[in-house]
């Protein structure tokens, strides 16, 4: 098989399917990772002692546990407790735990950096604590956490390749299959690296635009 036929008939269709799977993993993980991250950060900063401790433990556990190990536990370990997850669901769950734990730290840092006066002024206007957090603290904290959260999003794109280890044929998995089948390691892995680079570059531009759009003057 010549190079052109290999690229057109084998590599591109395989990459297409793999890419769709990678995008599905990322697209489902990212919003949940962000929302749970916000919840965990709020719990840590503004929750009572108990809630704050629980949220801290969440972050400590899921940041501390290697992601691959977490995926193995979810996919291979849980069935012994009667919980059987599909490879896709196990991957998404593992990614959400990991992604949200890291996001919670970026957002927590940003929340702490919001000046105390902002919360005091909101309360003085008659806002409840929750209203003040939701309308005043979070909008500022989220703006400040865009660099950190987008960095985590980039990591997510790349560590989504770990799903291959529990049989999800995403981009890396698809490339590994054709690389071994056609004994074309170099061209396949270089090509897939370029696809990841393109995804990360697009994300970086998007994050920069977002950062610029929501920058707080001063």
């Amino acid at each position: 098989m010549d190079q052109v036929t290999f690229v057109l008939d084998v590599m591109i269709p395989a990459f297409q399917n793999g890419l769709l799977m990678t995008l599905a993993l990322v697209a489902i993980t990212a919003p949940f990772g962000l929302l749970i991250g916000i919840g965990v950060a709020c719990g840590r900063v503004y929750g009572g002692k108990g809630v704050s401790w629980l949220m801290k433990m969440y972050a400590v556990f899921f940041r501390g546990c290697p992601l691959l190990l977490l995926l193995f536990i979810l996919y291979f370990g849980l069935p012994s407790f009667g919980i059987v997850l599909s490879p896709f669901v196990a991957s998404v769950l593992g990614f959400i735990f990991c992604n949200s734990a890291y996001n919670s730290e970026y957002i927590r840092g940003s929340m702490i950096s919001v000046k105390e006066g902002q919360l005091i002024a909101a309360k003085a206007l008659g806002m409840t604590r929750n209203q003040a957090i939701l309308n005043i603290v979070l909008p500022q904290a989220l703006r400040r956490s865009i660099p950190g959260v987008s960095n985590e999003f980039i990591y997510l794109i790349k560590y989504s390749s770990l799903a291959y280890m529990i049989t999800v044929i995403e981009l890396t998995g698809a490339s590994k299959l054709i690389a071994t089948k056609y004994f074309a390691y170099n061209e396949t892995f270089f090509a897939v690296a370029i696809v990841y680079l393109a995804l990360v570059t697009i994300t970086t531009f998007g994050a920069n635009a977002l950062e610029k759009k929501y920058a707080i003057p001063g």
């Binding site: 206007l125 409840t128 209203q131 003057p217 001063g218």
Partner: protein, 250 residues
Amino acid sequence: MTEEKYILRVENIKKSFGTNEVLKNVSVNVKKGETVCFIGPSGTGKSTLLRCINQLTIPDSGKIFLNDEEVTHAGPRINYFRQKIGMVFQNFFLFDHLTAVRNVEIALIKVKKMKPAMAREKAIFELKQVGMAEWAEHYPAELSGGQAQRVSIARALAMDPDIMLFDEPTSALDPELTREVLEVMKKLVQQGMTMLVVTHEMGFACSVANKICFMEHGLIKEEGTPSELLNNPEFERCKAFIGEFREYSQ
């Protein structure tokens, strides 16, 4: 006897931070439309007293009444009282991520549940009142200190408060900016707003206050009309404090 005439009653307020007794036993009554200025050296509890009035600081004991309703121990109803007690801070505390007009309207929308269009109308009206309408779309970082303070006054006024608390509103400003803020406050006095002002601006206190309270060591050591305090202060420390002011103003 004439208690019902008081819009605000502060009774025997005490507050300590650890071993530091900041307010020892402070009582003050304010009638509707009155302007009461609190003067005295730094660290004597003036700002803490204001913060106790709207419960941003919870006093250890004592009671506070607004329109004969108890503000202390109000539970969740404190958010209602805080709408009725406007507060302006030394460092403005404008919401950094919101433009001037959004700063003014946000509590109208979120707290008073006003429709956005109505809230915008009200916010622009209040900004006009303080001469800041043309700066409506600017962010706090793009405003001078005096402008930011005027926006924060508009933000508090938008809630239609019964009384306004000013916590050293001009202390972070240079003399020129101080004047523009004091002008706005004088206008409020003329409109009959009830105001409690912690200030070092003796000129302002003397020209607009119905009553000046001199505070020291967590107590109101002396109170009276501006002329009583300026011309005939009884308390030695008050004499010295006002004397220093006079010396510098000459």
